[in-house]
């Protein structure tokens, strides 16, 4: 019979392992959930409307590593992307591979992964989104922040009797932490942030703050390479946040009796889901339903309709005979919430119109639809024939409802007056009436895109 101390140690090791091996598998289940959610959301339309991506979710987008300001982040991102399996459709191809003339290799296989070589990688928007979901579980230590117990509002906690030192040592022995991390005290200590809080943590390079920073750059960035890299980062962050939310559809991640569940079950349900559905067979999301007011509402809300709450209410799939029914219920529900998250992050629409007054002066009329907003800032940039953008106008906007459009901005900058600009783009940064951050953008062509330079 196991003593309490050994149970604690066993539970500690299992706790640390659970997020890696016994949660929904990132490279199959989470990636598949994210893909199905994206297809069922409005993201395709938003990419077309907001970023001039004519193929929407299937638009090829390039991540230019020199454009990432933090070289450590860039190196880490490239290393993680190189580990992705191209068979699953979310591994990007590298510049060197794209430029190679010969593809067919009948006499043997290639020696380098497709993503290797060059200064950029390319993948479809949907592929980047799915990649973000997989990257959220890399390195494994990130997954300690993917827990949330709705009854207490807490995240992953150490089992009784286990110290942080014990947990760190076991993390090292389990291969979750490196010797360097153990020695510097950075090793996993058996605790984690509640999952909703992890999305908001400024140290989470794939969280909401990163999403917002990248979104601004995707509109206001000076060069096409900077903007496209930023758009990729928007999608990677979105995919990563979806993965955290999707783990709320995994019973292990939302229960307070974690230790008992682990010792009894060891995550067999999650492994069964991966084997049964893989990535390509994940079922479609349930129909979307209404929009939520806050991102946190998707995790938990006062009415008990957060994904973590709904998952926790279900009987834990303790036996193999329960796996199919649990998956049939939880996977579509999880996909539904993931689609809602996408639609919340990309809600609203701006429309642009240039109006010419009788005296020849021109103004940009900006109107908004499909959502409500509060005070914020509108920035207008113009894009020249070389694709370079410069700021043309900026205005502070209040939250008063009038009969006027959202903004009427004079366009009297020289480049605009001389007709040197090909496109206009607008970024609206604000908080909505629910206090939730909101980023809206739109673009419009000023002349035929095919006009000769």
């Amino acid at each position: 019979m196991r003593t309490r101390a050994s149970l604690a140690l066993l539970g500690g090791v299992l706790l640390l392992k659970v997020s890696a091996a016994m949660a929904y598998e990132a490279h199959t289940t989470l990636a598949g959930l994210t893909e199905r959610a994206a297809l069922g959301s409005q993201l395709h339309r938003r990419l077309v409307e907001r970023f001039h991506c004519s193929l929407g979710l299937f638009e090829p987008l390039q991540l230019h590593f020199p454009q990432i300001s933090d070289p450590v982040l860039a190196r880490g991102l490239r290393a993680r992307l190189l580990t992705l399996d191209p068979a699953e459709g979310y591994a990007p191809a590298g510049e060197a591979w794209l430029k190679a003339s010969t593809r067919t290799t009948p006499r043997g296989s290639a020696r380098a992964p497709e993503g290797a070589g060059g200064e950029f990688m390319r993948q479809s928007a949907l592929g980047w989104l799915a990649a973000g979901s997989v990257l959220e579980e890399m390195p494994i230590a990130r997954s300690v922040h993917h827990f949330f117990y709705p009854a207490t509002g807490t995240g992953l906690q150490r089992p009784p009797g286990q110290t942080s030192t014990n947990a760190s040592v076991h993390a090292f022995r389990a291969g979750i932490a490196s010797a360097r991390e153990l020695l510097t005290g950075a090793a996993v200590d058996g605790t984690g942030m509640p999952a909703p809080q992890w999305l908001l943590d400024p140290h989470n390079e794939l969280g909401l703050a990163s999403f917002q920073r990248a979104y601004r750059e995707a509109v206001l960035g000076e060069t096409p390479a900077a903007r496209q890299t930023a758009l990729v980062q928007v999608l990677l962050s979105t995919g990563a946040m979806l993965a955290v939310l999707e783990q709320m559809g995994d019973p292990i991640h939302v229960r307070g009796d974690l230790e008992r569940s682990l010792i009894q079950e060891g995550g067999l349900y999650q492994r069964w889901v991966s084997q049964r559905y893989g990535r390509a067979g994940v079922p479609a999301p349930a129909s979307a339903g209404g929009m939520v007011r806050h991102l946190s509402d998707l995790f938990h809300d006062t009415a008990g309709n957060g994904l973590a709450q709904l998952t926790a209410q279900r009987a834990y799939p303790a036996q193999e005979g329960m796996y199919a029914a649990s998956a049939a219920a939880l996977l579509p529900l999880t996909g539904q919430y993931a689609a809602k998250a996408v639609d919340l992050l990309f809600r609203g629409m701006l429309t642009l119109r240039v109006q010419t007054a009788t005296d020849g002066s021109q103004r940009l009329m900006v109107t908004m639809a499909e959502t409500t907003a509060g005070p914020g800032t509108i920035v207008v940039v113009g894009e020249d024939r070389q694709g370079r953008r410069q700021k043309l106008a900026e205005a502070q906007v209040t939250g008063e409802a009038t009969d006027e459009p959202l903004a009427q901005l004079p366009l009297d900058r020289t480049a605009f007056s001389r007709g040197e600009l090909r496109r206009l783009a607008v970024l609206y940064t604000c908080t909505d009436k629910n206090g939730e951050p909101l980023l809206l953008s739109a673009e419009m062509a000023l002349q035929k895109e095919s006009d000769p330079d």
Partner: protein, 348 residues
């Protein structure tokens, strides 16, 4: 150990390294399918308590004229602590449902009938009405697959655009245009003195519409409003006068055409509104300026004697002043919104 058998007639496990061979056939006819893309990946992971993906190596061939394919044995990576974990084969031919060695399209379940040698891939014609977006996503694959499926990717994008089309806006509501002010307030003696520097006394009187032929003509052109004012210099000839005519019409271009013809030799520009016509009648010593404001349906004509307006720019300025006093109509787009109407904000 590979999760697939060495051959279709045995349960002995195959070898992840290969070699692999098989044939691709049309499901219905059984005919071989040539030039189908066969795309394969070998995925490696690092040994340890927890599996950590390390890298993936890929290769591709196309099927021969008899539909067969051969993938040579893979030279495994020689890295300590790294093992070959998984092999995946994809087959794609445009116009057919794609094939994955690990998963079935029909129900998303794991495939159990893939074999290392003598593998038989039966491709089904792409069913009408099936989702290209869903299919492309199911297929996965790297760059080679994306290129082979490029046409289908475009179809997938179109399919999503159609499915996610925003609700059509409600019919555009044209606010009734505000009435124009009296003619004498549109062009005044003060305006003329300010622009031309003249100190002459001017008397304003209505200027009838002699451009429109009659009631039928007005109806045909959809006349909404007309204003005309003649500023006559006291004790002086016509070359010291100025006149203004304004029409709001349904078919403003037709009136513009008439006026262009009447003016004769014109200089065309964009100083005022969408089109500006300028002319000089040397016989009568009159400058004439006509402007079209197409969206508002407004045509404006200003005549100014050369003794009053020393240059055509002065006539243009007088016309601009008059037009600035006209209230222009506005349109309200009412877009169908699921929950709440659009919020309109005021600039601080």
């Amino acid at each position: 150990m590979a999760p697939f058998p060495a051959r279709t007639d045995t349960v002995a496990p195959g070898d992840l390294r290969g070699p692999f061979d098989g044939v691709v056939q049309d499901q219905s006819s059984g005919n071989p399918i040539a030039t189908a893309l066969i795309y394969v990946t070998w995925a490696y992971e690092k040994l340890g308590p927890l599996p950590v993906p390390v890298t993936t190596i890929t290769a591709q061939v196309v099927t021969k004229s008899d539909g067969t394919y051969e993938i040579p044995v893979h030279d495994t990576l020689d890295q300590p602590g790294v093992v070959l974990r998984k092999f995946t084969l994809l087959c794609y031919k445009a116009g057919y449902l794609g094939y994955r060695s690990d998963r079935r399209w029909e129900d998303g379940a794991a495939r159990r009938d893939f074999a290392q040698h003598g593998n038989r891939i039966r491709l089904e014609r792409f069913p009408e009405g099936e989702s290209h977006a869903r299919h492309v996503t199911f297929l996965g694959g790297g760059e080679a697959v994306r290129r082979a499926a490029q046409a289908e990717v475009v179809q997938a994008a179109l399919e999503l655009s159609e499915a996610q089309r925003p609700p059509p806006p409600l019919k555009k509501v044209e606010a009734p245009p505000p009435s124009w002010p009296p003619a004498e307030t549109l062009l005044t003696e003060a305006d003329v003195r300010d622009v031309t520097g003249s100190k002459l006394g001017l008397v304003g009187e209505p200027l009838p519409d002699t451009v429109m032929g009659g009631a039928n003509d007005k109806e045909a052109r959809g006349l909404v409003e007309y204003r005309g004012v003649h500023l006559r210099a006291q004790g002086k000839g016509e070359s010291f006068d100025a006149g203004l005519r304004l029409w709001r019409l349904g078919s403003a271009d037709s009136v513009l055409a008439d006026l262009r013809q009447a003016l004769g030799k014109v200089q065309e520009g964009h100083e005022v509104g969408d089109v500006t016509l300028k002319a000089f009648d040397s016989k009568r010593r009159l400058y004439g300026v006509v402007a079209l404001l197409r969206k508002a349906g407004v045509v404006a004509q200003l005549s100014c004697g050369a003794s009053l307006c020393k240059r055509d720019e002065m006539a243009v300025q007088l016309l601009q002043r008059a037009l600035q006093r006209l209230p222009m109509p506005s349109t309200n787009d009412e877009r169908a919104v699921d929950s709440q109407p659009p919020l309109k904000l005021r600039i601080q």
